[in-house]
């Protein structure tokens, strides 16, 4: 087998395929630590799998000799990385105020951007990006940032707004500088790849020549393509966003799997993503999608696949084809095949209360900040914080009798019945603080609505306004105070 290809394109494909390659100590099937390569004239088919999921792609290459080999994935990825990425960290030349960074960090806004490893360098007073990221990811970052700004609306605190503007400027510069570096090194770099009938692999570039051994393709498991699958099409960005909105509620349980994934529930003109662990439930609904069948269908996408897809998704559309056993995703020229969880998702609709009659409106940032402080003083078993609402004030209390600490703070709120009447009686309810923080972090608006009925009954969290034809809610079960 012989072909040549641009380093950037090759790296991008190998990088994505290696997401499912199991570590050598995690598999009983050594062939799986390889990527399947098969060349048919100018089409290179690549496959990787951990047997739970498969990723396949067809790359256009300049082929000169057909053939196939299983290539050690980690070795190839490391080699390509080392060939194309000269400089692994890039600093922004423009100075950045550490106070602004600290402010954003304290409000939890940097972590939301931090998927891309942006750190603050105290010594130089600059932002630094670390890691190896191909160009398109930086485009993604800019897009993410734009969405982020849009979703947040205007920030109330003046200095916070300045800080965000600063960060945007800095990140743009950072992105530009990293992209420039990356482009310079990869654009022109050509890789020549060959293998012989002894499965010896040779990788040639202008740097030099590297040789190592692969395996024969014979035993490599391949995904089965099925016909008669149901089909849903949705925008890649929306899919990613929906997964992000519900993922924190997935039950992380290796032995009972019925909640260990995101439930994708297709109704007439409605596509719902639902996740729950029995203590909270996240549900997001859209009508913006297309599907072939008009009948109701659903499946549970395992958490591993839930984590995998957003890494492969691009801005373009995403197609899901499925039956009751498996699902096939088509994302540009990549296909992902995954098993589905063969179990019954609980009847989530029956637990969502419809008669919560009390409505609490509160500033989300104020509440999050207060909860972060309160969480330091919660007990370790239930991690409970207590809400006490009376008149226009919400008091948040936490205490840890074991180590003897407690905290209390009060923020302004609006507490009314559904029909808009003021509630004069005091109401109190307790929650696990980490569930609250995770749920609140997924609400996009500056203010958040809680609805309650009784201290031992489910509470619902809602954004004050929803966007883009979507409908998001979270349910959170309280902690009963003994």
């Amino acid at each position: 087998m012989k072909f040549s290809i641009s380093a950037e394109k090759f790296f991008n494909a190998v990088n994505k395929l290696s997401y499912v390659v199991p570590g050598s100590s995690h598999t009983t099937l050594p062939i799986l630590s390889n990527i399947y390569f098969k060349l048919d004239s100018n089409k290179l088919r690549m496959v990787s799998t951990d047997l739970e999921a498969f990723i396949t792609t067809d790359l256009n290459v300049e082929g000169t000799e057909d053939g196939g080999v299983a290539v050690p994935a980690r070795k190839l990825l490391e080699l390509l990385k080392a060939m194309i990425i000269k400089n692994e960290s890039v600093s922004v030349t423009e100075k950045y105020s550490s106070d602004s960074y600290g402010l954003l960090n304290a409000e939890g806004l940097v972590p939301e951007l931090n998927l891309y490893s942006i750190k603050y360098d105290n010594a130089k007073g600059t932002l630094v990006y670390r890691g190896s990221i191909p160009e398109e990811t930086f485009e993604g970052l800019k897009e993410e940032f734009r969405l982020f700004k849009e979703n947040k609306g205007t920030i109330a605190a003046e200095d916070l707004k300045t800080a965000l503007d600063d960060l945007e400027k800095a990140v743009t510069a950072l992105g530009k500088s990293a992209v420039d570096t990356f482009k310079k090194t990869t654009e022109k770099l050509k890789i020549k790849f060959e293998s012989n009938d002894k499965n010896k692999i040779t990788v040639n570039s202008k740097n030099g020549k590297y040789q190592f051994f692969g395996e024969p393709l014979d035993d490599y498991p391949l995904p089965q393509d099925k016909t008669e699958l149901s089909r849903i099409e949705i925008s890649g960005n929306r899919f990613k966003r929906f997964i992000q909105k519900v993922k924190h509620s997935v039950k992380n349980d290796e032995i009972r799997r019925n909640m260990a994934g995101v439930f994708i529930d297709l109704r007439k003109n409605e596509l719902r993503f639902v996740a729950t662990d029995g203590f909270r439930l996240s549900k997001i609904i859209t009508s913006e999608f297309s599907h072939t069948n008009s009948k109701d269908e659903n499946f549970i996408l395992p958490i591993k696949t839930v984590d995998l897809i957003p890494k492969i998704v691009t801005d373009s559309s995403l197609v899901m084809e499925f039956d009751n056993m498996m699902i096939k995703f088509t994302i540009d020229n990549f296909n992902v095949y995954s098993k589905l969880i063969d179990d019954t998702f609980p009847n989530y609709e029956s637990v969502i209360p419809k008669d919560n009659d009390k409505k609490l409106l509160v500033n989300r940032y104020d509440l999050l900040s207060a909860l972060r402080r309160a969480s330091i003083f919660t007990d370790k078993v239930t991690m409970k914080v207590k809400f006490e609402v009376i008149g226009g004030e919400l008091t948040i209390k936490s205490d840890n009798p074991e180590i003897g600490g407690e905290g209390e703070e009060t923020i302004n709120c609006d507490f009314k019945t559904n029909s808009g009447d003021e509630i004069s009686d005091a109401f109190s309810i307790a929650f696990n603080v980490s569930y609250l923080v995770e749920c609140l972090s997924q609400i996009d608006t500056d203010e958040v609505i809680f609805t309650f009925s009784a201290p031992a009954k489910a509470s619902i969290l809602l954004p004050v306004a929803s966007m883009n034809e979507e409908n998001f809610m979270e349910l959170i079960m309280p902690v009963r105070v003994g």
Binding site: F279, V351, K384, P401, A458
Partner: protein, 392 residues
């Protein structure tokens, strides 16, 4: 010189058989074999009464062999729950005599009575006799008592006058008494060690003194210091009462009446141990989120699986599904199992706070099991059961 201690070792006589007889007096007067019915061809004798012992029937003998020795005997499988119940009642009687009690197993315990001899005018024999008669009159079962100044002598002594007897060793008689006994009477000396010792001409406990410490270190290994101390009548171990250590885990296991790979049956047994463990957690007001399921296979190999549950609890309903899933990982069709057990780790005090679960309506179940706890405490564990465990 430190004050002489008075340590009692109380050993129940043919405990399982005695309990059965106490519950069902019709069984008295004939050899009784607890372990299996006459049809349990693969069964093993778990406890014969004294009439059966006279016929040569021993613990761990196949039922079929016991049947040959005493065809007229009563053969029963054993009634679950009554033994630990009786054990508890026996312990309650012990507490009338001293607070320093170290239960060793279901049917034996050490008692330190050094400080509680006053009502008996300082006479430890009087105390032991009163205790023994108290157990007999209250519960209708007998025990044997060994008295000496340390644990190991008392333990060896309690075997001397069985059943319903007392062996009292004065401090200066202890060594002479021990020296004449076969060396395998020392707790911990099993077949292998015995063979080793016999090789060097050690048959009686007294023979142990013919060699010095370095010999035991080289030849016998871990028993070195211990064996010599026993031979010299030295054992300074204290009584460890239950309350002495802070309990961090709690476990419950059951050896089955017969080895089986019947999954349905094993799952019932699993529920049974889970129920008992949770009941004990509730009694001690603990909660846990850390569940281990253990099985012992017919070949005596042990395997176990653990799981951290999402929330703390002490109600069996919260753990049952997980215990089944864990058991599923340990179960193989065709692989015989002889024991199932559960353990709860990371025990915490229950402060009554509880994370609600939207899919579990726990309140009803909790009040049900709490009421069952009350009924069981008043009467007997077996008076009320779930359908699941009705027939085991």
């Amino acid at each position: 010189m430190p004050k002489t201690r008075y340590i009692l070792h109380v050993d129940m006589d043919a405990f399982f058989a005695s309990c059965e007889e106490a519950v069902n007096p019709d069984l008295k007067g004939k050899p009784l074999i607890v372990g299996g019915t006459k049809n349990d061809t693969r069964g093993i004798v778990s406890c014969p009464n004294y009439l059966a012992r006279k016929k040569g029937i021993r613990t761990a003998m196949p039922i079929t062999r016991a049947l040959q020795l005493a065809p007229e005997g009563n053969f029963i499988r054993g009634t679950r729950g009554i033994y630990s119940d009786y054990s508890k009642r026996v312990r309650e009687i012990f507490y009338k005599y001293t607070p320093l009690i170290e239960p060793m197993s279901i049917d034996e315990a050490f008692l330190d009575v050094t400080q509680t001899l006053r009502p008996f005018k300082g006479d430890v024999y009087e105390l032991a006799f009163a205790l023994k008669e108290d157990v007999k009159n209250t519960l209708g079962i007998t025990c044997s008592v060994g008295i000496s100044s340390n644990k190991v002598c008392s333990k060896i002594a309690s075997k001397e006058n069985k059943p319903d007897g007392i062996t009292y060793l004065l401090k200066d008689e202890e060594q002479d008494f021990l020296h004449g006994l076969p060396v395998e009477r020392i707790p911990g000396v099993g077949k292998v060690t015995l063979k080793h010792l016999n090789k060097y001409g050690i048959f009686k406990i007294g023979d142990l003194l013919n060699y010095d410490k370095s010999f035991y270190e080289k030849e016998i290994g871990m028993h070195s210091g211990y064996l010599l101390n026993v031979a010299n009548g030295i054992d300074n171990r204290e009584i460890n009462t239950f309350e002495d250590y802070d309990q961090k885990s709690l476990s419950k296991e059951t050896t089955l009446d017969f080895n089986t790979d019947d999954k349905h049956y094993l799952e019932k047994e699993l529920y049974y141990v889970l129920e008992r463990a949770c009941s004990r957690m509730r009694k001690k007001n603990y909660i846990s989120n850390n569940l281990t399921v253990k099985v012992k296979y017919a070949d005596f190999t042990v395997n176990q699986k653990s799981h951290i549950i999402n929330r703390f609890s002490n109600v069996e309903m919260d753990f049952y599904e997980d215990s089944l899933a864990l058991f599923d990982k340990l179960y193989r069709k065709g692989k015989q199992i002889r024991l199932v057990g559960v353990r709860f780790g990371d025990l915490r005090d229950n402060d009554g706070n509880l994370q609600e679960d939207m899919f579990v309506k726990e309140d009803k179940f909790r009040s049900l099991v709490e009421n069952m706890d009350k009924i069981r405490k008043k009467y007997d564990y077996n008076v009320i059961k779930f359908g699941k465990t009705f027939d085991i």
